[in-house]
């Protein structure tokens, strides 16, 4: 028993220490840049997991909230010189408001209707960003988004961005984790499993669904604010329907039921996107194929697969342990 606990503690320690020390070990800016990007996408994926994995709803419009976050934070910073932390808060607030506005009509919908509503939202945002030229600078987009500054510490290098993004991912993970393991989280799961039953049990289903939607919007908005400062530029063709699809893929392939799934999904897809760039069109065909395969044969995603494997290992270990201790007389 004691060994097991120490083992768990060691893994946990590694899990936190290794990411902390990463920039010291990886000095290649290109890799750090890709890792940072994946980290930003992880935030979006966590939000999506809360939405689809926990409450069973689909959103194919996350790019819209991502865009909103980037533009709100970016425009405030460029035009009014508002510091990063305040601009991010504004971005989150804007996304929360929009999320709530969408959630009101959308939560009454299910299945294809909800999907379509989110797609519509994503497209409307992109078209507004494209056409409302006096405010959003139209197709040229935002340039020279200022780097974040915290009490005199300027965040400019890849390594510094790494720590910034890592902190947010940690925060996001923590919040999601606490949520999932709370009464709220169990209610989410209940809604996912059987909405009608949950309603019968007195759960205000629509309220919870809306809350989940707003939450996913907030995650995407924060990711957006980070992205703006990180890349320095933003334009409407960063936030297309294809991007919404990519985020959904990260959530599904990684595993929409767990938070780890979000991490796996976004790192895998972002990494593959870079590593396989040489394959161009074939890469996308491969993606489509992986998507189909995952959804049919690994519906819980890679995280689910890992969990199944671990569970099976533990079972065989348990059985062999019982056998080796001679058993209790039961053959």
């Amino acid at each position: 028993m004691a060994i097991e606990n120490t083992g768990k503690k060691l893994v946990l320690l590694l899990a936190v220490a290794v990411p902390l020390l990463l920039p010291l070990l990886v000095s290649n800016n290109y890799y750090l840049h890709v890792i940072n990007l994946a980290g930003i996408y992880t935030l979006i994926a966590i939000g999506l997991n809360l939405l689809s994995g926990y409450t069973g709803q689909v959103s194919m419009g996350q790019a819209g909230f991502f865009a909103l976050g980037t533009y709100v934070a970016g425009l405030l910073a460029i035009n009014l010189g508002i510091p990063f932390w305040a601009a991010s808060l504004a971005a989150i607030a804007a996304c929360a408001l929009c999320g709530a506005a969408i959630a009101i009509p959308a939560m009454r919908l299910s299945g294809p209707y909800l999907v379509l509503a989110t797609v519509g939202f994503g497209e409307i945002i992109r078209l507004i960003l494209l056409n409302w030229t006096p405010v959003t600078r139209g197709a040229a987009g935002l340039t020279a988004i200022p780097l974040p500054k915290f009490f005199g510490w300027q965040c400019s290098s890849e390594a510094q961005f790494y720590y910034l993004i890592f902190s947010f991912v940690l925060l996001g993970t923590y919040v999601a984790y606490r949520l999932a393991h709370s009464k709220v989280g169990r209610t989410f799961a209940a809604i996912r499993e059987d909405e009608l039953a949950a309603e019968a049990m007195g759960v205000r289903v629509n309220r919870y669904k809306s809350a989940a939607f707003v939450l996913s919007a907030i995650y995407a908005g924060m990711a957006g604010a980070l992205y703006g400062a990180f890349s320095g530029v933003a334009s409407p063709d960063n936030f297309t329907f294809d991007d919404s699809v990519a985020f959904l893929c990260m959530s599904v392939i990684g595993g929409s039921r767990t938070i780890v799934g979000a991490l796996i999904g976004s790192f895998m897809l972002t990494g593959m996107s870079e590593a396989l760039r040489a394959l161009q069109t074939y890469r996308l065909i491969l993606y489509g194929g992986i998507l189909i395969f995952t959804v049919i044969y690994m519906p819980q995603g890679l995280a689910g697969l890992a969990a199944t494997v671990r569970a099976r290992l533990r079972r065989t270990a348990g059985r062999s342990a019982a056998a080796s201790t001679g058993g209790e007389g039961k053959a």
Binding site: L22, N28, Y31, L130, H181, G232, T258
Partner: protein, 386 residues
């Protein structure tokens, strides 16, 4: 729900991969050889693939020639290519990769304006020169970025020339613009409107369309209702061809105009009857009598069995501009290269006689006013200087 446990394995794996590659990439680079490494970024897949591939081929050809002819003195040129799919985020990643992994000294890229802007953030932070041989968006040279140069056609110049042609040669009074809703199109719309106002033409309508749109009839009907005698298109050739066809289907007989963004043989092929007589400005005609152009076209055709597109010609010239700057600077230090590029002059290349202004725009480009006749572009007039 164990969230802590899952972390360890994937991150450690990632770490090992990163560590190994970083170690491998770090070792061995040239020692004392005079080599300049150029990174080339463009859309080699996706909807603009033809442009990126043309750029790739032309740069490859130019680099081989420069090395053979020693056009850069005793410097050797190496080119490294990355595909950015026309996506700004991927483009920035590509440039990052070129700088970190291939250790390039300067970057040619990108073609899509939004991608070029994203790249400029990376090259700006790294402090190396960047030349775009394909982006025409005005905002690129208005950022106050000292590292960016542009050897692509100048939009303002083209817009002015087109409007002047409409007024002086064709005697039109009422015109409309129909432009793409992307950076290229929006910049064009602004420039055309300014030119029309300056030259006293009445702008009756200025609708826009999204790239990938197929149905342009609603906007065309609005233009027809306004009584436009000339329609200025500003976008890529697929949409331009469709617009021409649909305009004729609506019995609109106004004169159509276009710019270098749609200058490709495919425009004639797709537009067919409807595109006959379309007037457009471009920097390069394969059939030109200019000996420099003829030489280039012959070599390109010989090597790749196809006619070069304007983007290819511009990219080809860019390599020579770099070679010339390198010879004068005799160093790959960023500042030295930048200084040398800024002082470019006295070259007679395929698409013009390059000379950069303070913002980095090439003001020595040839401007050809052409019209579609039969299955070719017919040269009407050449305009040089600004």
């Amino acid at each position: 729900m164990s969230q802590g446990k899952g972390w360890g394995a994937p991150v450690v794996a990632l770490l090992i991969v990163c560590g190994l590659s970083a170690a491998l990439a770090g070792c061995s680079q040239d020692a004392g050889k005079k080599v300049i490494r150029i990174g080339v970024v463009g859309p080699e897949s996706g909807t603009a693939a033809q442009l990126g591939q043309g750029q790739h081929k032309a740069v490859q050809m130019a680099v081989d020639e420069v090395n053979a002819k020693k056009a850069a003195g005793d410097w050797q040129v190496e080119a490294y290519f990355e595909d950015d799919e026309g996506n700004p985020t991927k483009s920035a990643n590509a440039v990052n990769k070129l700088i970190q992994q291939s250790k390039v000294h300067l970057v040619i890229g990108a073609i899509n304006s939004s991608a070029t802007l994203a790249d400029m953030v990376v090259t700006g932070r790294a402090g190396i020169p960047q030349i775009t041989a394909g982006s025409t968006g005005a905002s690129i040279t208005q950022q106050g970025n000292k590292w960016i140069f542009r050897t692509a056609a100048n939009d303002e110049f083209q817009a002015n020339a087109l409007v002047r042609h409409a007024k002086e040669v064709l005697g039109l009074k009422k015109v409309a613009t129909f432009t793409a809703a992307d950076d290229y199109g929006q910049s064009g719309a602004k420039l055309l409107a300014a030119a029309a106002e300056k030259q006293g033409l009445q702008l009756v309508a200025s609708p826009t369309y999204n790239n990938g749109d197929k149905d342009f009839k609603p906007q065309l009907l609005t233009i027809k209702a306004g009584g436009a005698q000339g329609i200025f298109l500003w976008g890529l050739y697929t949409e331009a061809a469709l617009i021409s066809k649909q305009a004729r289907q609506l019995a609109i007989n106004a004169q159509l105009f276009g710019a270098s963004g749609m200058a490709a043989q495919k425009l004639i092929e797709l537009g067919g009857e409807a595109a006959q007589g379309l007037v457009l400005t471009q920097t390069f005609l394969p059939e030109s009598a200019n000996p420099v152009v003829k030489d280039f076209v012959a070599k390109y055709k010989g090597k790749y069995q196809e006619s070069p597109i304007p983007h290819a010609a511009q990219a080809y010239d860019t390599v020579y501009v770099i070679a010339d700057a390198l010879k004068r600077a005799n160093s790959t230090a960023p500042d030295a290269l930048r200084e040398a590029l800024a002082k470019t002059g006295g070259l007679k290349l395929v698409t013009g006689e390059p000379k950069f202004n303070l913002q980095g725009d090439d003001i020595g480009k040839y401007l050809l006013i052409t019209a579609i006749k039969g299955d070719k572009f017919e040269l009407l007039k050449t305009v040089t200087g600004n």
